[in-house]
């Protein structure tokens, strides 16, 4: 999930970025990485959509099956990206000049910005959620927690929490609780923690404090 920047890019953009990069093998590997990540994205999208439709139709939900599917998608993505990135590193060590041809944006900086954006979105959702009643409160907090998990590179937890959030929004607390159990999360605990954090921040704001120096 660390390469989520790739997800939104069409293949033509990736190909454009790779123009002028000397080695065919290297270009092929970057495009393969793109395929893996977009494939993962599509797989997850279909899974979440299917889950939402099942809940809407009111059919019985097999939590184990959904959980296994998430595990498989994330596992395959990890294995495939690990393989490709290892090969990419080999190619780079043999042809360090390729580094110069890569786009200028430092990938770590971009990834940092994406992770911080997930963190910021989570913070906004926490603030929003804690002003609501159930089940909206719990559903939004789970969604916010899933953003936090994306930011700290825990994609499996992130997707399971997203599913649990959807289940809660459909009023299926039982399905949400079953899913959360798989990743060791207690709904009440994380609601209490998140809304505790919001209350503590508000306490400081009431005293005119808008930030805490490092």
């Amino acid at each position: 999930m660390g390469c989520s920047l790739f997800y939104g890019m069409p293949q033509s953009v990736i190909e454009g970025l790779m123009e002028g990069v000397g080695e065919d093998e290297f270009r092929r590997l970057v495009l393969a990485l793109y395929d893996v990540l977009t494939g993962t994205y599509e797989g997850l999208y279909d899974l979440i959509k299917g889950f939402d439709e099942d809940l809407t139709r009111g059919v019985s939900i097999n939590v184990d099956e959904y959980y296994r599917e998430v595990v498989d998608i994330i596992h395959n993505m990890h294995v495939d990206t690990y393989y490709i990135i290892t090969k990419l590193n080999e190619a780079l060590s043999q042809h360090p000049e390729l580094l110069k041809a890569l786009p200028r944006t430092a990938p770590t900086q971009s990834l940092d910005a994406v992770n911080k954006m997930f963190g910021a979105m989570a913070g906004v959702l926490f603030r929003l959620a804690c002003g609501l009643e159930e089940p909206g409160r719990g559903a939004l907090i789970l969604l916010a927690e899933s953003y936090l998990d994306l930011a700290v590179d825990k994609p499996l937890d992130a997707i399971v929490l997203t599913l649990a959030s959807i289940a809660l929004a459909h009023g299926r607390r039982d399905v949400a609780a079953e899913l959360l159990k798989r990743v060791g999360v207690d709904l009440e605990d994380i609601i209490n923690f998140a809304c505790g954090a919001v209350e503590l921040a508000k306490f400081l704001e009431e005293h005119g404090i808008r930030s805490i120096p490092e």
């Binding site: 940092d112 910005a113 992770n115 911080k116 954006m117 997930f118 963190g119 910021a120 989570a122 913070g123 906004v124 926490f126 603030r127 929003l128 927690e145 936090l148 998990d149 930011a151 700290v152 590179d153 825990k154 060791g184 999360v185 207690d186 605990d189 994380i190 209490n192 923690f193 998140a194 809304c195 505790g196 954090a197 919001v198 209350e199 503590l200 921040a201 306490f203 400081l204 704001e205 005293h207 005119g208 404090i209 808008r210 930030s211 805490i212 120096p213 490092e214």
Partner: protein, 241 residues
């Protein structure tokens, strides 16, 4: 990480959680004011992202999963010395505006500190751990390790006496120690703290703390939450011995 674990938490980790929520306030207000004003939202988002430290996100993610009611603690020393220190910092940085009061400035700061902590206790279920003679004994033993390293090492460890006391208390109680203080972890590296690695969660490093006292072998886990986790190394200069 498990359900029945206890954690001794450094104050800064707690403040990180609040820092994240405080920092997103302008974005929250912009979204509420006009959710369709994408341009304004984008602009405020960029400002907020520039202010956010990755460590705050990691601290929030870590504590929200690990701190259940009654398994996370700060110490009395933290309560009475470290927390007021943070509020004095807020005061002198101008972040905490106070009205002109006739009474004691200390009382003013202490009142705010107590109010905040009592909220943290009831909302997070954070407990305050009273420390006793056995904690002191472990801390003395830890300092003795550095006495054998020479006077320079001893000065360094005593300059960080309050933090050393925290590590000693965690060791004595068998509580995991959660901190953002790389200086402390690297200072104790090689002698008391070893094996700094990344846990499978961004921004969190894991290390072991060990200390032998007579026939007792004390050990615990140290979680260092730091933006460089993944590539973080302690240099020879950073070590106190």
């Amino acid at each position: 990480m498990g359900n029945n674990e206890y954690y001794l938490v450094d104050t800064n980790v707690l403040f990180d959680v609040v820092r994240l929520i405080l920092t997103v306030k302008p974005l929250f207000e912009t979204v509420l004011r006009n959710p369709r004003d994408i341009e304004a939202i984008q602009q405020v988002t960029m400002n907020v992202i520039n202010k956010i430290n990755k460590r705050w996100i990691a601290s929030f993610a870590f504590l929200s999963r690990e701190c259940r009611r009654g398994n996370c603690f700060i110490t009395e020393f933290t309560q009475r010395i470290e927390l007021p220190r943070v509020f004095v910092k807020l005061l002198l940085s101008g972040d905490l505006p106070i009205r002109r009061v006739g009474g004691s400035l200390f009382n003013e700061v202490e009142g705010l500190t107590k109010g905040w902590l009592s909220m943290a206790e009831s909302l997070f279920g954070i407990g305050v751990l009273g420390m006793d003679y056995s904690d002191y004994e472990v801390a003395r033993e830890l300092v003795r390790v550095y006495e054998t390293c020479g006077s320079g090492s001893l000065v360094k460890v005593l300059n960080n006496a309050m933090d050393v006391l925290l590590v000693a208390t965690a060791l004595n109680r068998g509580y995991n120690f959660v901190t953002t203080d790389k200086r402390l972890v690297c200072g104790l590296a090689n002698q008391v703290i070893t094996g700094l690695t990344q846990v499978p969660s961004g921004g969190v490093c894991l290390a072991n703390a060990r200390l032998g006292i007579g026939d007792r072998a004390l050990s615990t886990r140290v979680y260092l939450i730091h933006e460089q986790c993944g590539s973080l190394r302690c240099t020879g200069r950073e070590r106190w011995c």
